[in-house]
Amino acid sequence: MEQNIHENEYIYPGHVACSGCGAAIAMRFLLKALGEKTIIVLPACCWSIIAGPYPQSSLKVPVIHCAFEAGGAVASGVRAALDIKGDTETTVVTWAGDGGTFDIGFQALSGAVERNEEFIYACYDNEAYMNTGIQRSSSTPYGAWTTTTPGIEWKKLRKKNIVEALVAHRIPYAATANIAFPDDLVRKAKKAKEIKGSKFLHIYSSCPTGWRIPSEMSIKIARMAVQTNIFPLYEVEDGIKYTINYKSKEYPVREYFKLQGRFKHLSDEDLEQIQEMVNEDWERLLKKAGENP
C-alpha cells in the first residue's frame, strides 16, 4: 500500500484517552497530515480531557480550549488575528465531537462556513455525548442504546446527515473519513489544507466505551462501517462535485450491528428496516455522484 503518512508524531505518549479510542487515532493522523504549523481550537468534547490537565498538554501544537458551542466562532477569531499578524502559513483547525458539531455547535459552525472562513472544521464522530457518559446526540444512529435512550426507548430517529447540511452551505470542501482508512484520511486532511475557505472533515471515530465493544475491535468496526455503506467515504467539492472514494463491498449491516453492545436489543425486523435505510441512503449518494447503482 502506498504510504503518504508522515512519521512525525504530534501527540505525546501519556494522553488520557480510553484504550482503543477512535478520537485519539483520528487526531494522530490529522496532525501527521497537517504538521506543526497548526492551531487546534477545541470546544468541549472527549478531547478536552484527552488533551491533558493543566499544566500538561498531550499535543505538540498550540491548543485553545473553548466553550462547547463556540468552535466555529473561536476559529474565526484566531484566523482573523493570524491574518492581521501576516501569518498565512498556519492552519486553524476546529476539532469537535459530534455534540459540538451536530447539536450545540451547529450555529457557530454554520455561521463560520457561511462566511467562508479560512479554516478546517474536523468533527470526530463517536455518535453520542461520550465524555459525559454516552448520552444521545443528533448523530446517534437509528437503533442505538445510549444512557438517555435506554431500554425500549432506544433511538428511533435517523442520524443527522451533517455532510449534506454543510454541502447546502456550498462549502468549498466537505469529506467523510474514517480511522480504519488512514491513507484516505491523511490525503483528505492535506487536500483540505490546500483549498481556500472553509473545509469540513467528518471523521468516523469508534468509541469502545460507549458502543460496548472490546477496545481491540475499534478499527475493525470502523472498517465495517464503510464496507456496509453505513458510513461511505466520499468528498464534495464546492457543494456540487461528489466523489465516492471507496467502492463498497455492500456487506450486510447485520454483521456491523451484531458486534456492538449498543445495538444488542435490535430484532431481525429492526435490522431489516435499517438495511433498507442504508440502501436508500447509499443509492441517493450514488445518484449525486453520478454513478447509477
Partner: protein, 385 residues
C-alpha cells in the same frame, strides 16, 4: 477637535483611536449605530481592522476570545438580550485573562420587548469578572473606552464600558475627539504575556483540577484589586495628556451634605441639576456618582458617605427578591463601618421610563421626610393598575 456627534459615534471614534485590530459584533438596538459606524470605518479604510460579522452575540464574544488569545486588540458592543446571551463567555473572557473591551448599551430585558434604558442587563453580569464603568455623557464614553484598553491591558482583565440606551447612544452632544498622536502617546500597543504561537505551543484553558483552580480564581480576585490601585494612575496619565478626569466615583457637594443621593449613568447628570437647585434653595444635599462598579471602590464610598445623615440610592435596575443593585453595593460597603447612615433605595426610570428632575427631587423629599427606610426599596412613579 470638538464635534457634535451621536453617542454611538463617540464609541466608534474611541475604538478607532485605540487602534483596535478586530471588531466582532452582532446587531441589536440600541447598539446598532456603533457597529454601523465601525463597519463603515473598516470598509472605507478609516480603520485598519477586521470586522467579523458573526451570527450571534455568543459568537461575537467567542470570536474575540480567539482574536485576543492570538494577541490582537479586540472590541465588541452589545445590549440587553445580547449581553445575556454572552453570559457564559463573559466568565470565559475574564477566566482567560483577556483584556477585551466592550461597549454595553443598557437596555431592558424581555419580556415584554423593551429597547429602552435599564441597567439590569449589565448589573446582572457584575459577578463575571469584568471591570465595569458606567458613563454619564458621550465625552466620558469616548475617554473611558480609551482608558479601558490601558486599564484592562495593565491588569489582564476585560472591561465593560456602560452607557444608557438612547439618552447616550442616540443623543448628539459636543465631544472633543482627540488627535491620534496624543492617543498613541497615551495607549501603547498591547503586548500580551502569552498568545497562541506555533513556535511556542501552549494549551489555553485546559482542564484544571481542584489542585490549581482555586489559585487561578484567586489570581483574578487579585487582578481586580490591582485594577483598583491602577485606576488612578490610568486617570493621571490621561489627565496629563487630555486634561480630563472622572474618578472611580464623583462626589458633588457631599462635604456638608445631610442627604447624599447616589446615582449613575445619565441619571447622575440629572441628579447634578437637582442637587444644584436644591442647594440654591438651602437644602443640604449632595450627589455621589458611581462610575466604577467592578472593582467596587469600597473605601472611597465609605469615606464620602460616612458623614451623611442619610443616603438615598436611585436605581434604574432591580434584583427581584432583593432591592436595587447599586443600593446593595452601597449597603455592603457601609455595613462593616462602626457608624453609618441608613440607606434608602428608590427604584425609578425602569425600562426607559423618564427619570426627570422632578422624580429625583421627589426622591430627595421622601428620604428627607423619613427617619429610617421602611422597606428595602421603594418604587417611584408607578401608575395605578
Amino acid at each position: 477637535m470638538k464635534r457634535v456627534v451621536e453617542g454611538s459615534e463617540a464609541v466608534a471614534e474611541a475604538v478607532r483611536l485605540a487602534r483596535v485590530n478586530v471588531i466582532s459584533a452582532y446587531p441589536i438596538t440600541p447598539q446598532t449605530h456603533i457597529v454601523e459606524f465601525l463597519s463603515e470605518y473598516c470598509a472605507n479604510g478609516t480603520m485598519d481592522a477586521r470586522f467579523l460579522r458573526v451570527e450571534s452575540e455568543h459568537s461575537a464574544l467567542a470570536a474575540l476570545i480567539g482574536t485576543a488569545t492570538t494577541g490582537v486588540r479586540s472590541f465588541t458592543a452589545t445590549s440587553g438580550q445580547g449581553l445575556a446571551l454572552m453570559h457564559e463567555l463573559l466568565h470565559w473572557t475574564s477566566g482567560a485573562r483577556l483584556p477585551i473591551v466592550m461597549a454595553e448599551v443598557n437596555r431592558a430585558l424581555a419580556p415584554g420587548w423593551n429597547i429602552w434604558v435599564d441597567q439590569t442587563d449589565s448589573l446582572a453580569q457584575r459577578d463575571t469578572g469584568w471591570i465595569q464603568l458606567y458613563c454619564e455623557d458621550s465625552q466620558e464614553v469616548l475617554d473611558t473606552i480609551i482608558q479601558a484598553y490601558r486599564l484592562g491591558e495593565l491588569v489582564d482583565l476585560p472591561v465593560m464600558v456602560v452607557l444608557d440606551a438612547f439618552f447616550l447612544s442616540h443623543t448628539y452632544e459636543p465631544v472633543d475627539i482627540p488627535d491620534q498622536k496624543l492617543v498613541d502617546d497615551y495607549l501603547p500597543p498591547w503586548e500580551p504575556k502569552f498568545q497562541l504561537d506555533t513556535e511556542k505551543p501552549c494549551a489555553f484553558g485546559p482542564l484544571v483540577t481542584p489542585a490549581f483552580y482555586m489559585e487561578m480564581r484567586h489570581a483574578i480576585a487579585g487582578a481586580m484589586e490591582d485594577a483598583l490601585e491602577v485606576f488612578p494612575q490610568v486617570e493621571d496619565e490621561f489627565e496629563r495628556i487630555f486634561n480630563r478626569r472622572y474618578g472611580e466615583v464623583e462626589a458633588v457637594s457631599c462635604d456638608d451634605a445631610e442627604i447624599i443621593l447616589v446615582s449613575s449613568g445619565t441619571a447622575a447628570s440629572t441628579s447634578r441639576l437637582v442637587v444644584k437647585d436644591l442647594r440654591a434653595a438651602g437644602e443640604k444635599v449632595g450627589l455621589l456618582k458611581i462610575k466604577l462598579l467592578r472593582p467596587f471602590p469600597v473605601d472611597i464610598v465609605r469615606r464620602v458617605l460616612a458623614s451623611a445623615k442619610k443616603v438615598a440610592v436611585i436605581d434604574r435596575n432591580f434584583s427581584f427578591g432583593a432591592s436595587g443593585i447599586f443600593a446593595q453595593e452601597i449597603r455592603a460597603a457601609l455595613c462593616n463601618t462602626m457608624k453609618h447612615p441608613p440607606v434608602f433605595n428608590y427604584i425609578a426610570g425602569i425600562g426607559g421610563r423618564d427619570l426627570t428632575a422632578d422624580v429625583i427631587e421627589d426622591i430627595y423629599r421622601r428620604a428627607k421626610a423619613s427617619d429610617f427606610p421602611e422597606r428595602e426599596s421603594e418604587w417611584v412613579g408607578l401608575q395605578e393598575v
